[in-house]
Amino acid sequence: MTPPFLAVDRARIAYGALVAVHDVSLSVARGETAGLVGESGSGKSSLGKALACLIELAGGTIRLEGTDLRTLAAADRLALRRRVQMMFQDPVSSLSPRLKVRSLLAEPIRVHGLPFVGSWRRIEALMARLGLAPDLLDKYPHQLSGGQARRVAIVRALILNPALVVCDEPTAGLDVSVQGELLNLMRDLQAEHALTYFIISHNLTVIRRVTDRVAVMYLGEIVESGPTDALFAAPAHPYTAALIAATPTIDPTRRRAQIVLPGEIPSPRDPPSGCRFHPRCLHAQARCRHEPPAPRTIGDGRTVACHFPLG
């Protein structure tokens, strides 16, 4: 059996004493759009950065196309950068402020020793594809609009022809009326460049619209995962249900039954015992306080970590 394109096995990420990601396992198939949804303290951003090899795992493994990322030698790490790229939340601040766009786009070429002429032709083609005028090359990041900066960041990520693109909150700061355009563009690019996306977001509407599979994180663990449509239609974990119901809707007939979770999101420094969600769960019982639920499959590629799943 061929290994999955991306396989995360019992990943653990810690910043000193603070455990941001506790015990996360997931897999992503080639060519699909996977989503990771969660609120503050869920650890989703840390996991995303680990996938892009920007931070080290404290435990567990990440395998890309079968290769364990932790065992890579320095030279191979550079080559890895050509397989995995990242799109950051705020495009303007992800571009080095004192470099012109031309230098920013030339940097990946220089760092990886790619052929100059061929690569620049690629850049020009990508810029044209994304609707960026050539005169942008001589501007600084702070002179670009948010939309232009976002597209420059996309060009920069695609120059290296990656296989996996990790997107951290791709629609952050974007008005609803223009999100669709960006997401359509990302879909087109996915087909044109054979990309696999890993989209991290707290915005459930975006996740529901563009992902094939989604995993829901709470306080460093995955509480539920599965195909997007099925998960949204019938969430199995109480937290997922609360998240879905929390989004305000215009149409009063489509408003789901109100689920207002009590309390605050606990700090990752001091997670609750047993099931981490039990203090806020409306269905919690004694068992939930003492015994952390192990993820189990509930049919059709869906997993849930709950003693008393819904439905």
Partner: protein
């Protein structure tokens, strides 16, 4: 229904290095006593500027180019600062977007709340002030209120701090409560808690509320009326059910479509092509015309007519 706030043809400009930014362009709005008005819009719509104008908290480089705001019969434009300062925090209270920075980290919550109460009712005894503070904290959903009065802002989470801001605004017993994107900086499940809190509080609150948000759904759930803004102008307004049920302005229609569609994975998503116009040089005619699928040549040249609708409200469009 008496009018609490009457915004008349208000135009506000900001002086910047690039030139004057026309943030608000002939905006008119009426807030009746006891009503909850939602103001929705995207970036550059001017909704935050309008919220700041209502609380008279505009920054130094803002200039009221035309029009005025009449608050309970008093035109605010010509008033000296001390009159405006007397209104703020007493008759007009604001809940800001960012709970992290709206509280002074050096003072306890008790001090914050006490200041508000004492300003509103200077004659109260210390014990009564404390009792009111505790009662309000409990009412906004902060448990163990007596102990938490002694704590400082950094000991509270974002959602809690927002509740404290709401408590402070309510303790001022204002006639007008302006909430400027109070849930935008919060996590989804905490946002739901705060929206729910507003829902329970609004019934007991005697004054009017102006709720500014980019979220159509939140406004639909909480407000009686809604005002839709685009590029510094009001494009449509009316009762929530009418505007969201039968939107008349192309922008409102497009915006609702973008927010509510459920294409399922695989289909193309809707968006409004183009960008918000540059507010330094706003286009003549209807500001939405460059992006409007149904624009006519007249739309681009002349400002759109204001068309009242039979089932409530009005829209600024030839087609309404």
């Amino acid at each position: 229904m008496t009018l609490l706030v009457d915004v008349r043809d208000l135009s506000i400009e900001f002086a910047t290095a690039r030139g004057a930014v026309h943030a608000l362009n002939r905006v008119s709005l009426e807030v009746a006593k006891g009503r909850i008005i939602g103001i929705v819009g995207e970036s550059g719509s001017g909704k935050s500027t309008l919220a700041l104008a209502l609380s008279r908290l505009l920054p130094a480089n803002a200039r009221i180019a035309a029009g005025d705001i009449v608050f309970d019969g008093v035109a605010l434009g010509t008033q000296p600062e001390r009159v405006l300062a007397a209104l703020r925090g007493a008759r007009i209270a604001t809940v800001f977007q960012d709970p992290m920075t709206a509280l002074n980290p050096l003072f306890t919550i008790g001090t914050h709340l006490g200041d508000v109460i004492r300003r509103r009712r200077p004659a109260l005894a210390a014990g009564e002030v404390r009792a009111r503070a505790i009662a309000m904290l409990t009412r906004v959903g902060i448990p163990d209120a007596a102990r938490r009065l002694r704590q400082h802002p950094h000991e509270f989470s974002g959602g809690m701090r927002q509740r404290i801001l709401i408590a402070m605004a309510l303790l001022a017993e204002p006639d007008l409560l302006v909430a400027d994107e109070p849930t935008t900086a919060l996590d989804v499940t905490i946002e739901r808690q705060i929206v729910d809190l507003f829902r329970t509080l609004k019934n007991d609150f005697a004054g009017s509320i102006v709720f500014v948000s980019h979220s159509l759904g939140t406004v639909a759930e909480l407000c009686d009326e809604v005002v839709v803004m685009y590029a510094g102008t009001v494009v449509e307004q009316g009762p929530v059910a009418r505007v969201f049920g039968r939107p008349c302005h192309p922008y409102t229609q497009a915006l609702i479509r973008c927010e509510t569609e459920e294409p399922g994975t695989g289909r193309r998503l809707r968006s409004i092509p183009g960008e918000v116009p540059d507010l330094v040089t706003p286009p003549p005619g209807c500001p939405f015309a460059p992006r409007c699928a149904e624009a006519t040549p007249t739309c681009r040249q002349a400002p759109p007519p204001w068309r009242p609708q039979a089932d409530g409200g009005a829209a600024a469009c030839v087609l309404a």
